[in-house]
Symmetry: C2
């Protein structure tokens, strides 16, 4: 009676990540946090960079007049311009401040974009494995999620995407570097995706957006550079946050960037600003907007995560796990050695290791490791992974 029928159903069905996270909290309370090897949540253990700490201290010690007041809903123009300048340098496109809408993180950004563009019943393609919350975001605004599985390297499978594009397709929501696989979608695959969508738009007389969810784009390894999708496809927007690159997940600061070559960008930006307000976000937190304005060139050290990837991939490989070696983010998505990923996660729980079953990402038979944790957690977890692989006794 208290909650709507849909919310009740969603709560019963989903929420694997948070479910494991809550289980972990309970286990920690029971046996002590130092005995639990919690690889469940993308909650970086790193503190924000020194530059962030310095900016926060500077503003706290010499507050600007009115710095906690309302500003125009899309944010301070100085902050939007700083983001635009960085994006222009990174993409080669010519962003202006008006193309950027500051948001309460990437989850807010994704909801605002979907609210703005979706008519009731419009379809949004997502690629499995996917961040499970996408299902809720799409449903929130009357959309219908349509899933296309990635290939065995966790790259977009163009044939499978083509098979699900219809005249109701309004957007494809992609995420690279990917949560949960860590895969970085290749330049070549993004080129193919852009060509496919151009062709389908012409065929159906529709407009199909690419919504590129990029919170991990600065956490990238092996010296590669991040393949940008926006220069390849005009009908596109970025949704992202500083949760990972500045290690600020709790502060809810991110943005939407509209492709400066998108034909109706003024109308879209006005719609995004309207929906940012009316969905109840109103604006991105003021103080964080003041701070990130001057930190657009700053990021946590990706090498910190790269070492952890190397450590885990080596050990998991030695133990016989089938694990894809990713080039970004801070996740691994190995195959579960038994078919039932939930059962396997329960086995790991016997060693106090917390991971999330693959079905929490629309991909049963796998499990997700979040390795943005301290080394002792990884070391303890590896013992658990070994125990779970050991042949049964007797």
């Amino acid at each position: 009676m208290a909650v709507s029928q849909k919310v009740r159903r969603f709560m019963e069905e989903g929420g694997w990540i948070r479910r494991v996270f809550e289980e972990g909290l309970a286990l920690k309370a029971q046996i002590g946090a130092d005995k639990v090897f919690d690889l469940s949540l993308g909650n970086p253990v790193m503190e924000p960079p020194q530059e962030f700490q310095d900016e926060l201290r500077r503003l706290a010690n010499a507050p600007l007049s009115g710095m906690h007041r309302y500003m125009p809903n899309p944010g301070y123009m100085e902050t939007r311009q700083a983001v635009a300048d960085t994006l222009s340098a990174e993409t080669g496109l010519d962003f202006s401040g008006g193309d950027v809408i500051m948001t309460c993180g990437a989850a807010a950004a994704a909801n605002v974009v979907l609210k703005t563009i979706l008519n009731e019943g419009d379809e949004v393609i997502i690629l499995a494995p996917y961040f499970f919350e996408y299902l809720y975001y799409i449903d929130n605004h009357g959309g219908v999620a349509v899933v296309a599985a990635c290939d065995d390297q966790f790259q977009p499978d163009l044939a499978k995407i083509e098979a699900v594009v219809t005249d109701k397709t309004r957007a494809i929501l992609i995420n690279s570097p990917n949560n949960p696989s860590g895969a970085v979608y290749s330049e070549e695959r993004l080129t193919g995706l852009a060509a496919l969508l151009e062709r389908k738009q012409a065929e159906h007389g529709t407009e199909i957006f690419i919504i590129s969810d990029e919170p991990y784009r600065r956490i990238i390894f092996d010296g590669i550079s991040f393949p940008q999708v926006l220069p390849q496809y005009d009908n596109s927007v970025v949704v992202t946050s500083h949760a990972k690159d500045l290690a600020l997940p709790g502060e809810r600061i991110g943005y939407i960037a509209v492709n400066p070559n998108y034909a109706d960008k003024e109308e879209l930006s006005a719609g995004l600003s309207f929906c940012n307000r009316t969905l109840g976000f109103v604006n991105a937190p003021a103080l964080m907007q003041h701070i990130v304005r001057n930190l657009q060139g700053v990021s946590v050290d990706a090498g910190y995560y790269e070492k952890k990837r190397d450590y885990l991939c080596r050990h998991l490989g030695e133990l016989g796990y089938d694990v894809f070696r990713p080039q970004g983010a801070f996740y691994l998505f190995p195959k579960a050695p038994i078919e039932d990923d939930v059962a396997f996660c329960k086995t790991l729980l016997n060693s106090n290791v917390l991971v999330v079953p693959g079905r929490g990402f629309g991909t049963p038979g796998y499990f997700r490791i979040s390795y943005c944790v301290e080394d002792w957690v990884l070391e303890g977890a590896v013992k658990g992974f070994a125990a779970a692989m050991a042949p049964p006794e007797g």
Copy 2:
């Protein structure tokens, strides 16, 4: 093409407050901010209290470990408990931390509550004059807004409310002290409302929530105390923020409090937490949660606004305006001296005075003055109000 049909329609129809705000920005850019008397937005000119500045400085200079990370979606339990303790003292009810969900402001709180409780087509009663954004919040989550006008003292009109309660009524969203009228709903009227809803619930076999939007409850004048609705009606929640009482509108920090006597409060709290996450808010900004934890007893000086109310009411009365003298918030809602409130607002604009037409609150024929501004703005505005009342020359 860029935005959905509904968003386009909403953008064309509404948004009076922001429209005037944007007009004001343009006018300021054109003739200088010191020549514009902007009474359009509830954007307090006050800086946050010294206690806030001190807390911010303390945390910036000696950061807590992990203080910018994710926490459980409903917020830090210490903060929730601090809010609960204050609410318990203020209402006489027995709140626990579990009854409080920290949110990105009151607009977020209202959206989260509506998302959680509404099934498609459920009706939500609002009382005119109302904050126009309520219409969007209700529509966002499949609800249908049903309007009941207040009486001539801007108090809830129980007969009019009774006339619109149906078996589809899921909630009534009230706002006291009221934006735009400044009225404080009386104890007696709230008692009547509670009795009416109890009767209607029994009659229809339904559950009807009171959602009490209370961001102005500490900005209250004439030594009166704020009449609480929660002690009178179990099926109720508070949605509020620290935007006004701590002068932090840009920081997006508020909360939902579930009546501790509500029968299904565990399910409701779980649903609120789920929707807070999946609507994309995820959690209230971490740093602000750390700060407001220790400021629950702190508030801006309501006397600062009371003096401004007195000044404006005196001058408007002398000029012949028909103006209700409110006991809270920082708004006045006088009758426009001509029938067409939009035309009257345009007349005021000739004197560089910005106010919002009453139809922006579902109540044509009035206009809203937001007086959370410096005295020179009020003094300049009074000259404009005088000019607009003067008989036409010639």
